[in-house]
Symmetry: C2
Amino acid sequence: MRKSIAIDMDGVIADVEAHFINWYERVYGIKVLPRDIIGKTESEAFPKDGAVHKFVVTPGFFRTAPVMKGAVEAVKKLTVHFDVYIVSAAMEFPLSLPEKLAWLNEHFPFIGWRNIIFCGDKSVINTDFMIDDYPKNLNYHKGTPIMFTSFHNANLNHHIRANNWDEVLELMEKER
Amino acid sequence: MRKSIAIDMDGVIADVEAHFINWYERVYGIKVLPRDIIGKTESEAFPKDGAVHKFVVTPGFFRTAPVMKGAVEAVKKLTVHFDVYIVSAAMEFPLSLPEKLAWLNEHFPFIGWRNIIFCGDKSVINTDFMIDDYPKNLNYHKGTPIMFTSFHNANLNHHIRANNWDEVLELMEKER
């Protein structure tokens, strides 16, 4: 039987770190360097004016996020041997629902509607693997959680870690 | 530990049967009687012109659906003893995403964003109970499926059946 994988969007297939850095510089004129925010929370990394919350409720933010390096090719490869579900905690930001769906349809057109899940709490998502950047999602997963490296989780060691999409493919190669 | 319930929207907390009947009469001038469509599929019940598909892709359809009789009070009661998730296969109709969320916020304001899931395939939803009107969703559920009576499932006997929200409460009373 094919195994299933839940793959998160923000910080995993969507490069929201780069997007925050770009918007922060554009709006506040402050250039944040990736190396300076390693281990910080989102609000420590972008402290001005509640910037992160302002950005994520701004129309267009999610629709224009850059794709994470290597994600399209890797996810496409995974769909050959696994049932891949894109699972995003989009419900917190209602405006993001149509934007995230349009973004997926543009960049990941090979993921059909049956395999997309927008939720709040991910604890009821039952897949064999979960690839996510947030321990709050991974900690309650009943399958095998894989922490995708992001600046905010750099100092955590809860779970198996994948630093990039090549490492995800390496890990999953053994699980087919 | 509190048990969890996944509750479907269309045909369970949203009375899409009544909504189809109203729209069908308004658009085609044909009055369909509930007793005449028992055991029929949606397209047999409303055969004109691909009506059902036309309605569900019409802006406003999901936003204006009437609430199923007794649903608000019953779901509110269930939240006292269970973790209730509203789980809708909304991804098939992208336009429905913001409409369904606005509808839930209006009629079920006590259901927070953490407990709302819009998906395609419901097979990865892991709850102790699932209340749904479609066998295609219930058949793959790993917990206890409960079939909520709808005209289209009247002749099926796959699962425990609840004919209305009073019967759901009766069933769940024993499961606390």
